[in-house]
Amino acid sequence: MHSETSQNLIAPGIHYLQGAEACAEGAMLAGCRVYAGYPITPATEIMEHFARRLPSMGGRTIQMEDEIASAGVLLGASWAGAKAMTATSSPGFSLMQEVISFGIMTETPMVVVDVQRPGPGQGYISTSQEDVMQARWGHHGEGAIIALSPASVQDMFAMTIRAFNLSERWRTPVLVMAEETVAHMRERLVIPDLDSIEIIDRKTPQDEGIAPQDYLPYGHGPVPPMAIWGQGYDVNHVSLVHHRDGRITGYNAETHFDNIDRIRRKIEDNVADISEVEARFMEDSRHFVICYGAVSRTAVEAVLEARQVHGIPVGYIRLKTLWPFPEARLRELVRDAEKIFVPEMNLGMMKHPITEALRDRCRMVAAVPSLGCLHTPEQILARIQEEAA
């Protein structure tokens, strides 16, 4: 599978790496051969790692003039057949929204890593989860997005690979919503046998046996096979509302609905395949902590202490995928609860879809906010004790 360049990929075994480096290594293993970026703290280490490593795999790293251009590079690179990625931090993520919106509409596989820092404005350069709503709603217009939430160096590696796989499988931009915490931490990273790692490549019309004259750029099913530039399919990538054959004239409301509804539903109808949830200590639990990202590391400590030391029946649920929001899965897990605690490094953002999903399954959903720094287990435990003891 990786025969051409496997000699230069990260070696199987145990490594001690930074999250940013693990992210870049995962991307390269997934097949990323174009990286474009613009320096910004705390995301820069990802680009620096790509700049050192990508040439040895025949890939190219470019530092663009801004974040808009960096994200723009991904569109062209993807249409020309490459897997491509950028990484930025929150202010840069704001700038990229135009391109992300365009990527959703043109159904372009591309990966954007947001190493979140606090805002608004320049905010600060520490850690944050303040972009989780921007990830879903920051781009203009309808559509859907896939956003993953890594909590460790191992996750930065594995979830970046998964981000590429999902973007290729569903032909859509995928976001890795990292935090400064996970990008800068160094810890153990276990690389399995490379052939055991699943790598998904986009379907092309050639794969599906579709000849150029029969090819519909936005047809042939919910996820259209993607023609690559330079292969004789004369494909026009367009973000204006279009017919399935790519025609942009003859606008009507039915075509518009068909176009956007398919783009949304190819993601939203497949939440069960796309969105991962980790659940622990579910048996007999009356209360739940629902968390994601780096916060889940301290949240699990708080849950363990609440259960073992204080005898409070608290369950632990971690959203490994933020969007599409795994509402059905949460409702399976939480059937009847007293109180739900949502620790986040913001003032309560994912608390909203959690409340929407579980408002009839519990008595209260409580935000446990922190700005600019990771919660301590004690902070989360104190809130649990206050409400549930």
Partner: protein, 283 residues
């Protein structure tokens, strides 16, 4: 229709499964259609005379009247992309596949919203041919002021006259580092076709500005505007300035310099030579 139609119709999709792709949305008398015609003539020559593969030719544009030249009717790979950002997207395509021969249609409006991308594309000398249709205003949105609008000119958003000086896009491209820079007008068809051929053949950034007419927003008959483009322009000759009040047309710059991909290829080659001899795999 093809038998009696335009010779360049062979490069256009007139029909698709959901309906007709033509006519172009451009207004009667607009110069952008002429620019497409000149460009397709140039590509036609290169397909016949050079070893250019049609599959490798990619058209990319942003948003605006000129950008509508890249659309669902082109019988080529193409991308109708984001306002001002077409050069970023072209850069990405080349990074993925340097074999592609990219032609970017852009307008003078892209020089405002995409000014930064424009100067950096020229500075990097990325191997694309930029064809800029300059009509001196924003046509698609209804005739507003552009960075190329003359000082004092009244437009929809400068009802009392433009207080700003216009850009000279060719000087900007040359200063920023483009390998090839030229300007013609829609009223110079033969010169424009020859220049586009040179531009596509040129390794590195070729910037070709084509002065064009917008009869609708200038409220002037197309033929009058066309004549004015001949009358108001003068060809640059080495060592001589064009007469006062005339716009210089012709070739401003044609220099050989390595493009981004060639320089980066040296790094790729060097890194892979190292890998042959050193212990590899771990980091």
């Amino acid at each position: 229709m093809n038998e009696i139609g335009h010779p360049m119709l062979k490069y256009l999709k007139t029909e698709g499964p959901s309906g007709p792709r033509l006519p172009l949305i451009l207004c009667p008398g607009c110069g952008a259609g002429q620019v497409l015609n000149y460009t397709l003539h140039a590509v036609d020559r290169l397909l016949a005379e050079d070893n250019l593969n049609k599959e490798d030719v990619v058209f990319i544009s942003g948003v605006g009247c000129s950008s509508r030249l890249t659309s669902h009717y082109l019988q080529f790979d193409s991308g109708w992309t984001i306002h001002g950002r077409s050069l970023a997207i072209a850069t990405g395509a080349l990074l993925a596949n340097p074999k592609l021969r990219i032609i970017v249609f852009t307008g003078d409006g892209d020089a405002a919203i995409g000014g930064n991308h424009f100067i950096h594309a020229c500075r990097r000398n990325i191997d694309v041919t930029i064809i800029c249709v300059n009509n001196g205003l924003y046509g698609m949105t209804g005739g507003q002021v552009a960075p190329t609008t003359d000082t004092g000119e009244k437009t929809a958003t400068t009802p009392f006259g433009n207080v700003e000086d216009p850009f000279d896009l060719c000087k900007l491209a040359e200063t920023a580092g483009a390998a090839y820079v030229a300007r013609w007008s829609t009223a110079h068809p033969r010169q424009t076709v020859k220049t586009i051929i040179k531009g596509i053949r040129k390794k590195g950034t070729a910037f070709i500005e084509i002065l064009s007419q917008c009869p609708v927003h200038k409220k002037t008959a197309p033929v009058e505007m066309f004549k004015a483009l001949r009358r108001l322009t003068a060809r640059v000759k080495e060592g001589a300035a064009v007469p006062d009040g005339r716009i210089a047309v012709g070739e401003f710059c044609n220099r050989d310099k390595p493009d981004w991909i060639s320089r980066y290829q040296d790094i790729i080659d060097q890194e892979n030579r190292h890998k042959d001899t050193e212990c590899t795999g771990s980091i």
